[in-house]
């Protein structure tokens, strides 16, 4: 096992990793930007180093300062969390070059899967169904021809993409040029990589993803699926659950089989997630995230497994201590993301001082957060304040528990998504478990109209 791990992240995921390390008896080094000096992830680590000013490009993305911190503190591994450098193959390679274990898959696999267009090609070779689409489109003209072949509506996506950035729906030829340019610019500024590809738009699909875990000895297990179809108009997830409701057993098995084949095809190691669009009984591979996901706690709750500890153990060279047959999911878990956002104003992010913070507790409730009464929300980063996760023996019990937990939650000082989450939980679509990715945008349009 490692002696000391550098946590190359901030916020709740940095705390999450710190917890896993502590429980494994591993020392931790936190990094932080100047406005994050009073953050909980700094307070709970064994050591902490400021690596730059507020803007992430100069702190949480500063590879030299992060690597230097790891080296001068004698870390033997780096956990990247999610976002920031988590899917940066170059960073993973630089860690290796400096004798630091990157807690994640190999740089090669990150590179292959990180390029969304390449990833789809690899998947097609492994006989996994992907959404009909193109390779990288060099120009608007090529995009125009491709759209004609696929048939509108189509989706333009950034090959380096994630979190809905650089993604545009195009419903007809007259929108194409503008959408192409906008997506390219957004991708360029978000990922320093403006390359786009195109997919046929699957109308009203569900977003269902499958968790995989592989060790360095070729063992791979599937840890079930998560339904992440409650997404904001920006395609960012708001509520996730495990297992997916009303998913035909045949479809579930097919998803697991595809995920296993995909992971085997690339000799996947560590934790990863395959995202699928599911429409009726058809499932299309969308992309693979070669890191821990924000929504991993719902899987942890139904499988009673600590995914971040597993990541660390695998990276430290331990074999999985169980086979697929040993894994038995139980009950149902739901996660609500509590963001500092104004849901009534297109989820505009908010920053400020948190004057009063009280989190829910009691049976079946898990809270992952870095905020506290009197703390601040800097304007530079992701707006997520907390994840509230509810477990129940049944989906109905989990929903009831989540509702009471959200009603117990107090966050004063910034707007949050608590009310929006409560509104989703109260809909027939959600309680019946019949919803797709157009559900929340539709609900918001209704609210605007009313």
């Amino acid at each position: 096992m490692f002696k000391k791990v550098l946590i190359a992240n901030r916020g709740e995921i940095a705390l999450r990793i710190n917890r896993a390390c502590r429980e494994l008896g591993v020392k931790t080094v936190a990094i932080f930007s100047e406005p994050d000096r009073e953050s909980l992830h700094v307070r709970h680590a064994d050591e902490a180093f400021c690596v730059g000013p507020g803007p992430a490009a100069r702190s949480y993305l500063s590879i030299p300062n992060i690597i230097s911190t790891a080296l001068i503190t004698n870390c033997d591994a780096v956990h990247p969390g999610y976002g920031f450098l988590a899917e940066n193959a170059r960073f993973a390679q630089i860690c290796a070059d400096h004798g630091l274990t990157f807690i994640g898959p190999t740089p090669e696999v990150i590179g292959t899967m990180g390029d969304k267009a390449t990833a789809k090609r690899v998947m097609r070779e492994a006989k996994i169904e992907t959404t009909p689409g193109t390779d990288i489109l060099e120009s608007v003209d090529k995009a125009r021809r491709a759209a004609k072949d696929l048939g509108y509506p189509v989706l333009l996506k950034a090959t380096a993409g994630g979190g809905g950035k650089g993604m545009r729906v195009v419903t007809g030829p007259d929108e194409l040029e503008r959408a192409f340019n906008n997506a390219q610019n957004e991708a360029e500024s978000s990922f320093k990589d403006g390359r786009l590809y195109m997919e046929k738009l699957i109308v009203s699909p569900r977003h269902i993803e499958v968790q995989v875990l592989g060790d360095n000895f070729g063992n791979i297990v599937i840890l079930g699926e998560r339904d992440c179809s409650v997404q904001k108009p920006s395609h960012q997830k708001l509520i996730e659950e495990a297992p997916a409701a009303n998913l035909a057993e045949k479809t579930r098995k097919s998803l697991y089989a595809m995920a296993l084949r995909a992971a085997q095809a690339v000799h996947y190691t560590n934790a990863g997630t395959l995202e699928f669009l599911v429409s009726g009984d058809r499932a299309y591979f969308m992309e693979m995230n070669t890191r821990i996901q924000v929504e991993h706690p719902v899987t942890e709750m139904v499988y009673n497994i600590d995914l971040v500890k597993e990541q660390i153990r695998i990276a430290a060279g331990e074999a999985l201590g169980y086979t697929q047959d040993d894994l038995r999911p139980r009950g149902h878990a739901i996660e609500c993301r509590i963001n500092a956002e104004d849901a009534r104003n297109n989820f505009a992010p908010a920053a400020g001082t948190l004057t009063n913070v009280v989190f829910p507790g009691g049976p079946g409730i898990r809270v992952d957060t870095h905020i506290y009464s009197g703390g601040t929300v800097p304007p530079f980063y992701d707006s997520m304040l907390a994840k509230i996760v509810a477990f129940g023996e049944t989906r109905e019990a989990a929903i009831a528990r989540m509702e009471r937990a959200l009603r117990e939650t107090v966050i004063e000082g910034v707007n949050t998504t608590i009310q929006q989450c409560l509104e989703v939980l109260a809909t027939d679509a959600f309680t019946s478990g019949h919803y797709a990715i157009d559900f929340l945008p539709g609900l918001l349009r209704q609210a605007d109209a009313a």
Partner: protein, 135 residues
Amino acid sequence: MPGNNVVQRVRSLVVAFLDTDLVRLRIERDGGHVELRRRASSRPATADSPEPQAQAAAPENVDAIKSDLVGIFRFSRPLPVTGEMVDSDRELAYVEALGIRNPVRSMGAGRLVSVCCDDGQPVEYGQTLFEIQRV
């Protein structure tokens, strides 16, 4: 009880006042007021200064030379000495990061009023390495 209550409220007001950097706080309500003043001697640092104006001005004149990266701090030769005058582009030290020696310069002439790190010490981004009084 009401009398006792007033005592309690004043006591908590005093505690809150001492926690601030205010020198005077006056609160009026219909019909009454309370005023709190801090004794001059209770303000540290400036208290026994014979020349308060110079004292107050001093910090204005001092530049902190900060690290702009994370690494190991090392003195350059000749060793900088507290109190010495440094010229405008003197290399006082360097921060070693990923095997690269990143010089720390005086960024203008002045008197070196403090050396804030030890040789071989790990330093973080923004950490003050030296203080130089501009002349």
